[in-house]
């Protein structure tokens, strides 16, 4: 049988090295998808069993069909692009403004006393409540959604940047001072790198909030986007379609989160512990 083996004999199969661990590993990997499949089957079965109307809860198979139709017909695509752009642009603008203001406040006690109370006051406003005003001011197009998203993404970055800039150990600052470093050098060589773990936590929180921001904006008033599409499907009692879009939205959120985590891993290779930072949602 060795003659017909496709694998070169010189390379031992990795699984033979530790068969016990290999089976455990594959088991743990398969467990989560298995649970999902079980849940979906149960869901499907319960709906058929109790004869739940499709306009209340759709069956998983109906959702899958709606997803396929939405993608294949090209209906979802332009709306997907609009919402993705709103999320990314709003997230980008909110993050940049949050970090910039955070640096200003984090480095200047005067700025903190002057500006920070107003920032906190603004943060206590529910962004959902000011979304209609922003839509009236900036119209039904994309720009109002970007602004709403930015106002939501902004605060986690502001709060984490401020805390992060102050997290630099005193010994490190003293070490640099002893080499005759000036304030700018201390900022660039110690305070900013020390703030990065906090800033990344802020980015991770903000990216998930940005999805909410864009959808809220579209709910208030829009001409396109996945949130807009959800409302339309709702009005036409297409529950399966609504669920399909919800799945797409959650995939966008998970994807962006994974992207942030991947960048974080590369940039913060030196930071062994996750920073205990502020998750200001």
């Amino acid at each position: 049988m060795a003659a017909t083996d496709t694998a070169p004999a010189a390379v031992p199969a990795p699984s033979t090295a530790d068969p016990v661990r290999a089976t455990r590993w594959s088991e743990s990997r398969a467990l989560s998808p298995l649970l999902l499949v079980a849940m979906l089957l149960l869901w499907e079965a319960l709906i058929h069993l109790f004869d739940v109307p499709a306009i209340v809860v759709p069956t998983p198979s109906a959702v899958a069909v709606a997803m396929w139709e939405g993608i294949a017909s090209g209906l979802f695509w332009p709306h997907f692009l609009v919402t993705l752009w709103e999320i990314i642009a709003g997230f980008g603008i909110g993050s940049v403004v949050g970090i910039a203001l955070g640096v200003l406040i984090g480095l200047s006690p005067l700025m903190e006393r002057l500006v920070y109370p107003y920032v906190v006051a603004f943060q206590t406003l529910p962004k959902v409540a000011i979304a209609p005003i922003i839509v009236i001011w900036f119209g039904y197009g994309i720009s109002s959604k970007i602004i709403i998203t930015a106002t939501i993404a902004f605060f986690p970055l502001l709060a984490n940047t401020i805390v992060g800039l102050r997290s630099a150990p005193r010994e490190q600052v003293e070490m640099l001072e002893a080499c005759t470093a000036n304030r700018w050098q201390i900022f660039r060589m110690i305070r900013l790198p020390q703030a990065l773990p906090y800033i990344f936590v802020g980015l991770d929180v903000a990216v998930v909030l940005s999805v909410i921001g864009a959808i809220v904006g579209e709910f208030v008033g829009a001409k396109a986007g996945l949130g807009y599409l959800i409302l339309q499907k709702n009005f036409s009692f297409d529950m399966a379609g609504v669920f399909a879009i919800l799945i797409i939205l959650s995939l966008i959120g998970v994807g962006l989160h994974l992207l942030v985590v991947a960048i974080q891993r590369r940039v913060l290779f030196w930071s062994e512990a996750h920073a205990n930072s502020v998750t200001g949602a």
Binding site: E171, Q172, E174, M175, E177, A178, C179, T180, F269, W270
Partner: protein, 276 residues
Amino acid sequence: MTAPLSIQAGASVPAPSRPGEALVRIEALEKIYSTRDRGNIHALSDIHLDVAPGEFLTIVGPSGCGKSTLLKILAGILKKTSGQVRVANAELYGPNRDLGVVFQAPVLLPWKSVIDNVLVPAKVQKLDMGQARTRARELLEMVGLSGFQDRYPGELSGGMQQRVGICRALIHKPKFLLMDEPFGALDAMTREQMNLELMRIWKEQEATILLVTHSISEAVFLADRVVVMSPRPGRIAEIMPVDLPRPRNLEMFNTPVFGKHVGAIRRHFQSEGGID
């Protein structure tokens, strides 16, 4: 050790005009920390000390007697409460380009590689980076870390990190070295090796060194004079000149003169209950 680094004159320490004149003059120095939870802590009291240019001074004393505090004040990174500190005939106002400091903890930046950590003072002082890099490699080789220059501090043992901190303090060829228990984390063998290297550098660069240690024998072995401190509040109990010839070698540890010095210093601490 060959290519000389150009130390740019900022507020550099000039060579003394008259021989015998003190490089550092400390008079009636007091330091009181005010803390929220523990009230006022009298860390240094009535410190008088002259350090001659080119002198090797070691400081021993029980932990908490203000050794690190004294070094930080001399480094210009901690404000004194009262008294006078003059360096090269000028009132001390802050850190100095001709100063090298080894801190009690290594204080490395975890996101910088070993060699980039060593280069931090050169970067801050905008020295010629090509020359500094060459010197950094030489220093790392001297402390036995040549294979580690591209590693990160997290991958190094405590003793290795400490040696990186020592290289960093030496990168800009400072004339004045403040070292706070620099060899504390090293094993006995490495420690003796580092003592010899340090004395070589001291001679070569005609540096002035203030070194804190908790090893009485190390203090005697290295020093021209040993400053013995006592706690609560931290003051100088005795300044003991060491009558051992230079250059020194490891055999001197076993001489009667050496033993006599160690015994005399130890007697100071017997009533206090030991050091560190």
